[in-house]
């Protein structure tokens, strides 16, 4: 019921075979382009990483898809439809720092918020919603923390709560903004396994990712971004030194010279 089709949106499907289709997208803040003429296609059923240096516009790209920031130009299609009409097929995991974790609420409560869109106005979350939220908490290994106040969770646990909230949305396209930033290694492994499980069940997962070292291991699709799209496609084809150099410029030396060191680039 939150779903409000807009009059100005065309009714016909466009590129329905793609999970995400972005065309001619430009976003600017105060006349400075943050994203410039982005053309992007993500096929369904892949797990895609969006990588790029600081200020490349990775988060902005996701926010523009979700209509959280105004587009200067261009349009977005999700499974062929405008986002406003495909809203229920999309789940979003914002950066953990985007909310006040001292808010008086429990982990279970936060996860149940993922069902609010399906519940619609006036309906309270009931036993069924509760069960769904508990199941999702179980999937992220947080069932024991359901009644814990969210300020008492560690960063990694908070991130997993956000992930569970996206899981209960039962979406087809998952957009995650740096879900592995600042979490411990155990949590990172759990998150990756979970996202790969979603992909294996045919869902599409798009992740803003900051650690170039792990891209090959975690993902099968990749978008390299630096205001413009530098390269996109299967990781095996796109993850090349040449492409990374074009995106990261001087910072690439770090990656080439010290493959074992944590990536110095793109920690935001």
């Amino acid at each position: 019921m939150f779903f409000r089709p807009r009059a100005e949106v065309q009714g016909r499907l466009h590129e329905p075979g793609l999970a995400l289709h972005v065309e001619d997208l430009t976003v600017s803040y105060h006349a400075r382009p943050v994203l410039w003429d982005i053309d992007l296609d993500v096929p369904p059923g892949v797990m895609a990483a969006i990588v790029g240096p600081n200020g490349a516009g990775k988060s902005t790209l996701i926010k523009a898809v979700l209509e959280l920031v105004p587009k200067t130009a261009g349009h977005v299609r999700v499974f062929g439809a405008p986002y406003a009409r495909a809203r229920k097929r999309v789940a979003y995991v914002p950066q953990r720092s985007s909310v006040d974790w001292d808010f008086p609420t429990t982990a279970l409560d936060v996860v149940m918020m993922g069902r609010y869109g399906h519940l619609g106005w006036l309906r309270r979350p009931g036993r069924e919603t509760r069960a769904q939220a508990m199941a999702a908490l179980g999937q992220v290994g947080m069932a024991a923390y359901a009644d814990r106040q969210i300020s008492q969770l560690s960063g990694g646990q908070q991130q997993r709560v956000f992930l569970a909230r996206a899981l209960v949305q039962e979406a087809d396209l998952y957009l995650l903004d740096e879900p592995m930033a600042g979490v411990d290694a155990t949590t990172e492994r759990a998150i990756v396994k979970l996202l790969q499980g979603l992909r294996d069940r045919g869902r599409t997962v798009v992740v803003v990712h900051h650690d170039l070292q792990t891209v090959r291991r975690y993902y099968d699709w990749m978008v390299i971004l630096n205001v413009r799209v530098i390269a996109q496609g299967p990781v095996a084809e796109v993850h090349t030194a040449e492409n990374l150099r074009r995106a990261y410029g001087g910072q690439i030396a770090l990656i080439d010279a010290a493959p074992e060191a944590p990536a110095g680039a793109g920690t935001m």
Partner: protein, 378 residues
């Protein structure tokens, strides 16, 4: 006056009921305002009500309560919209926008007030009662107006509970679900203006902000969930209202409004100091316990290290030497360790002074600490 007489007094009943209504509404709406980090919004809205009061008076040509409260509500809503527009359209931060709006509207109100007083003759309009409130002037009919406004706003909160909760916790996520976030935030803000209007006669524009902020801040200390916070906040608001009304009725001619605010502030003080989990004293005691535990652990491992060095698990460590080693008194820490059976006093065959030996329990604890087990710390 005896208590029974006070309680059966007609005026007091009216004032107490009014104060309770005000406390409940401002407590509920204040909870959302405080959590949205808009505590100052109540301040801006109440100060902004003053020009509305004056314009309502001028429009009606008399001290007609409907016109005055209508004007106050309109001015408050206009001020809230001004703040929203300033933060959205300019680069001003919310605090700066609130500050400028608050002072602009209040100054405008004072100018109008002065004009009206000059026109009508000093004191005749009686509008200055709205500055600090005049609870005794509240009539039974006014309670009806207040009650209707209160029911309307509390009903809206009950109906839109989950929407308000989500918009308060995570507005960005709320937008991705398709919620009209701006509209919901506007409704929350306008309802704060309604609460202000309810409280104008009671506590006045200057102190009204406290009624929005204080119950919510106090309630936040005691709870871990939004539902209980809103309920406790309302209860504290009502309690403060009735307390203020009672103290005022007991004599000395003290004004009700400031007493209500003082009662709410007392609740804040108690909550900030005493609430388990968040209170200052609780926090202080927890930190002291942690510091002591850490001190005990250090002494325990030091004795353990000395014993290991001497190849004797029963090696008696001299207290004065431990003092030197830690650069201070270890007596208190050793006494606490002794009390729970981790160390015991021992005599040394050559030297004077107190010596300490690890008990088997103390040895196990020391080894546990050294193995990296940090006990029950998270």
């Amino acid at each position: 006056m005896g208590l029974v007489e006070i309680l059966s007094d007609h005026t007091l009943q009216t004032v107490a009921i009014g104060a309770a209504i005000l406390g409940a509404v401002s407590g509920v709406l204040g909870a959302f305002a405080v959590l949205r980090q808009q505590s100052l919004m109540g301040d801006a809205l109440s100060h902004a009500a003053l020009p509305g009061i004056c314009l309502g008076f001028l429009w009606a040509g008399s001290r007609d309560l409907g016109a005055i409260l209508g004007g106050a509500l309109a001015a408050g809503a206009l001020a809230a919209l001004t703040v929203m527009a300033m933060t959205r359209l300019t680069r001003l931060k919310t605090d700066a926008a609130l500050g400028s709006v608050l002072s602009f509207y209040f100054a405008l109100g004072i100018v109008l007030l002065t004009l009206i007083q000059r026109q009508a003759g000093a004191g005749q309009a009686g509008l200055e009662a709205f500055l600090f409130g005049q609870a005794a002037a509240i009539l039974r009919e006014d309670l009806q107006v207040m009650g209707v406004l209160a029911l309307a706003s509390l009903g809206a909160v009950a109906l839109l509970w989950k929407e308000f909760k989500l918009v308060t916790f995570d507005p960005v996520f709320a937008r991705t679900l398709g919620l009209p976030v701006v509209a919901l935030e506007a409704v929350l803000t306008v309802m704060v203006a309604v609460a202000v209007v309810i409280g104008l006669q009671m506590v006045g524009v200057v102190l009204m902000a406290a009624m929005i902020v204080a119950p919510a801040v106090a309630a936040r200390q005691w709870v871990t969930r939004l539902g209980p916070m809103v309920v406790i906040s309302a209860a504290i608001g009502m309690g403060a209202g009735v307390t203020g009304a009672l103290i005022s009725a007991m004599g000395r001619g003290l004004a009700t409004g400031p007493l209500v605010v003082l009662a709410a502030s007392a609740a804040v003080l108690v909550s900030i100091l005493l609430a388990p989990g968040r209170g200052v004293i609780w926090d202080w005691m927890k930190r002291r316990a942690e510091r002591r535990a850490l001190g005990g652990q250090r002494v325990l491992t030091a004795i353990h290290a000395l014993a290991a060095e001497h190849g004797d698990p029963e090696y008696p460590a001299e207290q004065s030497m431990l003092d030197v080693y830690f650069g201070g008194g270890t007596a208190a820490a050793l006494d606490r360790l002794e009390a729970r059976g981790a160390v015991r006093r021992a005599a040394h065959f050559r030297t004077e002074g107190v010596h300490w030996v690890l008990t088997p329990q103390g040895q196990a604890e020391a080894e546990d600490i050294l193995a990296g087990g940090e006990g029950d710390r998270p």
